[in-house]
């Protein structure tokens, strides 16, 4: 094991320990408001991961992931307030709705690549944004839908619900961690390698027998799944759903978070999302133009660190390893950490 791998493992363990300790350590160190900020960061990291799955691993830049996030939110909210569903069926409805929407739009979108693909994803999300705004009877329009949380688990007389902040935090952490673990498995799998091949060279990929269209569609639906889970969690977290979260500005934020953090790396979206939400929370109370900082940082990273902050970190570690003159590590087939 090289020093770089060791450093990464120690940092991962520390990061995991921190996440588990948040409900106690953060109120003690800062205040309890930051517990919910961290929960929000976890949810939006998952959203950025959905952009990253498409852009970083398949080479498709989507500016419309907010659509599937919005469908996840509305699936939960409509399920609970209109259909009277309990917690899990509503969660399921949100995820299925966003995946179904990704399938329907994906059938058209993944025929295209590059800027054409980016444009069609924006167009789809705008269409449904305006539909959601105008169909007030279903979506509540600008005001959105507020709902009362049903309990998550009921055992006899005891109930666990997201109204308990600690339970809510761990519910979000577990769900997000599970999704990232699934994505980790996916990246190292035969399907994941096929995605990478398509990202690198789609013509060549078709010549070795890969069905490029079908594989892109699968990736698009899987990205819809990630965005849908994020949207459903965010609906539970805020106890409401609103069309404003389907706007393309939300999609754009996901793209910036993923790229600044490092597209094509598992942890990039987490780093990028954390950075920008912390900046927003800290700076926005003092200065209303905090998005200027966001823009400036995004430009700097794109110019100076094409593989994002995670890419910078990896380069630094590699340098460190070479300085120690250690031999290159033997690895099995490369698996993104």
């Amino acid at each position: 094991m090289s020093a770089a791998t060791a450093i990464n493992r120690v940092m991962m363990a520390a990061f995991a320990a921190f996440l588990v300790s948040v409900p106690w350590s953060v109120p003690a160190l800062i205040n309890s408001f930051w517990v919910s900020v961290i929960a929000e960061i976890l949810i939006w990291s998952l959203f950025a991961a959905s952009v990253n799955l498409l852009f970083g691993y398949v080479g498709l830049l989507s500016f419309g992931q907010a659509l599937y996030f919005g469908f996840g939110m509305y699936g939960v909210a409509i399920g609970i307030s209109d259909l009277g569903l309990s917690f899990w069926p509503a969660f399921g409805l949100g995820i299925v709705a966003s995946m179904a929407m990704a399938l329907v739009t994906g059938i058209f979108a993944v025929r295209l690549t590059w800027h054409y693909f980016a444009i069609i994803t924006v167009v789809f999300s705008l269409i449904f944004y305006f539909l959601a705004l105008s169909n007030k009877w279903l979506t509540g329009g600008d005001d959105g839908i507020n709902f009362t949380l049903p309990p998550t688990f009921t055992f006899g007389g005891t109930k666990w619900a997201l109204t308990d902040p600690t339970f809510q935090y761990f519910f979000i952490l577990t769900t997000v961690a599970l999704c990232f673990w699934l994505m980790h498995r996916l990246i190292g799998s035969p399907l994941g390698k096929a995605f990478l091949a398509i990202r690198d060279n789609d013509v060549r990929a078709s010549l070795i027998g890969l069905n490029v269209y079908l594989l892109r569609l699968i990736a698009f639906v899987l990205a819809g799944f990630l965005a849908g889970v994020a949207g459903a969690l965010f609906a539970f977290f805020g106890r409401y759903a609103s069309a404003t979260y389907m706007f393309y500005q939300v999609s754009g934020e996901g793209v910036v978070w993923a790229i600044v953090g490092g597209a094509g790396t598992l942890f990039g979206p987490i780093i990028g999302t954390t950075l920008f939400i912390v900046i927003r929370e800290v700076v926005s109370t003092h200065w209303e133009h905090h998005s200027l900082i966001v823009g400036l940082m995004a430009i700097l990273v794109v110019i100076l660190a094409p593989k994002g902050l995670v890419g910078l970190w990896r380069a630094a570690l590699e340098h460190f390893d070479q300085d120690r003159a250690s031999k290159p590590v033997s690895q099995t087939l490369r698996v993104e950490p």
């Binding site: 190292g188 990478l196 990202r199 013509v203 078709s206 070795i208 027998g209 069905n211 087939l333």
Partner: protein, 259 residues
């Protein structure tokens, strides 16, 4: 009579006003190393694109072992066993050498497992390491393909052709841009493959073509100009005119002398 390995019937492909492949009927019997030569713009690569499914013809048919494959998508044609390389060397630049071979091996699978570890398939792993030895790139297995030298990329391309178990292999200028030593190595590999696989090769390097091809087809302006063995082709007057452009060159020489 056995069915020819590849047959085209009145194949035509137009790009706007240009007819790149013009009513081309070609029959290639199996068991031979076939070369297609011709001046730039003769339609050689377009023909490969039509056979491999990257382009659809405007008219005509492509038959592979008697089966009509006209208009099938590229991945389905690839799964039938027709594999090809591209004129501009093209591998998966951000994957390692081993991963390039691995994905090519798995590429024809209809089912790609979404959650199992890619490195866990022993058959694939064994095959990748055997192919690495065959092409002599074992030492570079973990290198990113994008960082390889040009000659090594060409070898990797040949490795990818080998590992995909082709029945018909289309090589588009495989030695283009290679050093003489690399060309020699590549030619030896191609000859070796030709013993078990049907190969069609597009090549500009005349010594290479005349050295390895059993049969040569000369194309000009989208149609067949001549076909035969190396000796017949090199003595064909029309081929000299169209391809080698001898008279024009002599004109230039005369002009230069008279100037």
């Amino acid at each position: 009579m056995t069915t020819p390995v590849l047959e085209t019937r009145n194949l035509t492909r137009r790009f706007g006003g240009l007819t790149a492949v013009d009513n081309l009927s070609l029959t290639l019997p199996g068991g031979k190393l076939h070369a297609i030569i011709g001046p730039n713009g003769a339609g050689k690569t377009t023909l490969f694109n039509l056979v491999s499914g990257l382009l659809r013809p405007n008219a005509g048919q492509v038959l592979f072992r008697g089966r009509d494959i006209t208009g099938l998508p590229a991945h389905e044609i690839s799964r039938l066993g027709i594999k090809r390389t591209l004129q501009v060397k093209s591998v998966f630049a951000q994957l390692t050498v081993a991963e390039n071979l691995w994905i090519t091996f798995e590429g024809s699978n209809r089912f790609l497992h979404p959650f199992r570890d890619a490195a866990s398939d022993p058959a694939a792993r064994e095959r990748v390491s055997r192919t690495l030895e065959q092409i002599g790139l074992t030492a570079l297995a973990r290198r990113q393909a994008g960082t390889l030298s040009y000659g090594d990329v060409a070898l990797l391309e040949i490795g990818m052709a080998l590992i995909s178990d082709p029945q018909l292999l289309l090589l588009d200028e495989p030695t283009c841009g290679m050093s003489p030593a690399e060309t020699e190595r590549a030619v030896a590999k191609i000859r070796e493959m030709a013993r078990t696989i049907d190969i069609i090769i597009i090549e500009h390097d005349m010594p290479v073509v005349f050295g390895i091809a059993d049969a040569i087809t000369v194309m000009a302006q989208g149609a067949i100009l001549a076909s035969g063995n190396a000796k017949e082709i090199s003595e064909d007057e029309r081929v000299r005119e169209a391809y080698l452009g001898r008279p024009e060159d002599e004109d230039y020489v005369e002009e230069a002398v008279n100037a």
